[in-house]
Amino acid sequence: METDGKTTKPTRRMFASQAAALAAGWVLTACGPKRLYEAPRAQLKKAIEDMERQYRERLGVNVSVSDAPPIPGVEFAYALDLSRCIGCRRCVYACVKENNQSRDPQIQWIKVLSMEKDKGIDFSAADPYYAPAEVPEEGHFYVPVQCQQCRNSPCTKVCPTGATWTEKDGIVVIDYDWCIGCRYCMAACPYGARHFNWAEPEIPKAEINPNTHYLGNRPRPKGVVEKCTFCIQRTRAGRYPACVEICPVGTRKFGNLLDKDSEIRYIIEHKRVLVLKEELNTAPRFFYFYAT
């Protein structure tokens, strides 16, 4: 900026009004409730202590809430082998347990669709409620669907309050304390990945997973939206997501997209991968592939 060499001497009035504005701004930003997205570290720590205290009082369980930030140099991605999945739904239930999903009403972040082999991936002919005596069923294959962690995420774009966003490691997260429950993100999601707490979520006390993350599996209140976070509480601590760990046939692969030697990079570079609803240009970080 150019200056003309003249400086105006601050008058007492100017000083007073600016100081007042600053103070008001400070009160608004520092003391008021805030989106966790923009909360400074110190405030986040305090917010998390509050969360832990509230869980202790409300649920009678010592829930620890982690505030682990994204790991530099890491962008998570997922790959699912459609030729291996047997449709056993173990991932669904492992996810429910790990991520403290409500048992009543039932919320499940993973939905496994049974599809007919002669139709290919055709959602209009998919059956999410298949219940044969034994899986896999003759003539069927299975497509598990959960949040696709899109690079071009329609859900974060439409949120009116900025309560959902993409973290630096590629995980799309929700601030359960900021979401107003308008469900615009659910209308915007092409994968049915977002779920709403239509009633107060209920989990038996003994089944609560106490190891949580503030943007992930900490218990949610009624009236807000939730979804898969790639098990942020595990993956930011160097572990696999619960669904990857439980899968009995090794269908599910997970890793760091930025690491050239990772399994996920190998799969993307050597296998025939596809993404769901490619034509919508959502650019998922969740890939499907056929290993055999």
Binding site: T161, C182, G192, F196
Partner: protein
């Protein structure tokens, strides 16, 4: 405007308020019955809503598959009503067609009540109404310009404000026996015309912009929203002016009513045409996306809860068009009113349930969940409509006598004097 000192202003305002309250309390038997009926609906709606807040939106029929329903459908319909009521301003001012001018003020009052209902429908739909302030900066955060919902919040509130200022200014001035300030009213009225188109376009874009929902993701949506709004808004207004003409000294020329009915016929034609164009594209091209349109008109895999509604809407809209396009028919009062009711009902069905539900059925992963509003939803919605009608009725009760010159400051003071003198 001669500047009042604060004491004077307060005294004059109190006079206005006192007079208004007296006007509202006075009324014949039909008026009191009407208010009582609205009161019953409001109480029932409030109780149902309290229950919904306590137990969650599980009391509605909405679920993850169909995550928006009756509430958002009503919201969409009423945005149209609010927009169209004011669009009558166009022929009144642009073509300087005097007979319609008298209606404009009532159009604005209708717009105010419709927007109020819109905001209430959004409030009852959200899961955390206690966090509504999260939308309002600086304490909250409005995701503008990324979220179309943020745009909608802005334009709806602005539109409400513009109409509120214009209507109250005109009435308050008239009460004091003065003409409204042209420098304030004319620019605001002119602004309200593009804003009326704007609120409806933005609301259409709310759905239109979602790539996940092919039924909404069609560029015909915004024009079709406007076309159907130009039918439903005037339909209500025509009935209202007939009621006013019957029960008050309010006068409106028959030509004005017939002219509006004629404009409605053109709008209805456009609406039907756009629907037809969309249906042709879906059914003839026969891609995957026809599923949603098929669900609405024909049903899908044995699910056809909504089919009777779809065809009633088509039938009612066709009927309204036929009645309004024939000059002799629309000049017959009975036929005219049948046409108004048909328009209102037809557009209400197609734009409420007919827009929202097929948009979400089948859901993103192909599942069909047949939505039908629950008793809680019906009660809450009836309550909100009752609040809207109550506000509109009370506003008319004050506005009509003012604009007829029956309720003015002068008369108020002389009335008070005579009352005092009579020893009350």
């Amino acid at each position: 405007m001669p500047l009042d000192n604060p004491a004077q202003f307060i005294r004059r305002f109190l006079g206005f308020a006192r007079g208004s309250v007296r006007l509202i309390l006075r009324g014949n038997r039909a008026y009191r019955l009407w208010l009582a009926a609205l009161g019953v609906l409001i109480v029932s709606g409030a109780l149902a809503y309290a229950n919904q807040v306590r137990n969650g939106l599980a009391l509605t029929a909405m679920r993850d598959q169909v995550s928006w329903g009756f509430y958002i459908g009503n919201f969409t319909f009423l945005v149209g009503v609010a927009a169209a009521a004011v669009v009558l301003v166009i022929p009144a001012y642009v073509y300087d067609w005097k007979p319609i001018r008298e209606i404009v003020l009532y159009g604005e009052l209708l717009a105010i009540s419709a927007i109020m209902m819109c905001l209430m429908f959004v409030m009852v739909d959200i899961g955390r109404p206690d966090r509504f302030w999260h939308l309002i900066p600086p304490m909250g955060h409005l995701n503008f310009p990324s979220s179309v919902l943020a745009w909608d919040v802005l334009v709806l509130n602005l539109y409400f404000l513009v109409n509120f200022v214009v209507a109250t200014h005109i009435l308050y001035r008239a009460f004091h026996g003065r003409k409204y300030a042209k420098r304030l009213v004319i620019p605001l009225v002119l602004l309200s015309i593009p804003m009326a188109v704007g609120i409806h376009t933005v609301t259409a874009f709310l759905y239109n912009g979602l790539v996940a929902r092919p039924y909404w993701n069609s560029s015909i949506l915004a024009p079709q929203f406007l076309a159907s709004a130009f039918c439903s808004g005037p339909a209500i207004l025509l009935v209202v002016v007939q009621v006013l003409r019957r029960f008050t000294r309010f006068e409106i020329r028959d030509e004005a009513i017939w002219k509006i009915a004629e404009l409605m016929a053109y709008a209805m034609f456009l609406n039907l045409f756009l629907h037809g164009a969309e249906a042709f594209k879906e059914f003839y091209s026969g891609g995957q996306d026809v599923l949603y349109t098929r669900y609405w008109y024909l049903g899908l895999n044995g699910h056809h809860t909504l089919v009777p509604y779809a065809w009633s809407a088509v039938g009612l809209n066709l009927l309204a068009f036929a009645l309004f396009i024939v000059p002799a028919a629309r000049r017959n009062w009975v036929i005219l009113n049948i046409g108004c009711i048909a328009t209102y009902a037809g557009v209400y069905i197609e734009k409420g349930m007919g827009l929202i539900i097929p948009g979400l059925t089948p859901d993103a992963l192909g599942e069909i969940y047949e939505y039908y509003p629950s008793v809680t939803e019906l009660r809450v919605a009836a309550g909100i409509f009752a609040v809207g009608f109550l506000v509109f009725t009370l506003m008319l009760k004050v506005a009509v006598p003012i604009s007829l010159g029956e309720f003015t400051e002068k008369k108020e003071t002389s009335d008070l004097a005579s009352v005092a003198w009579a020893g009350h």
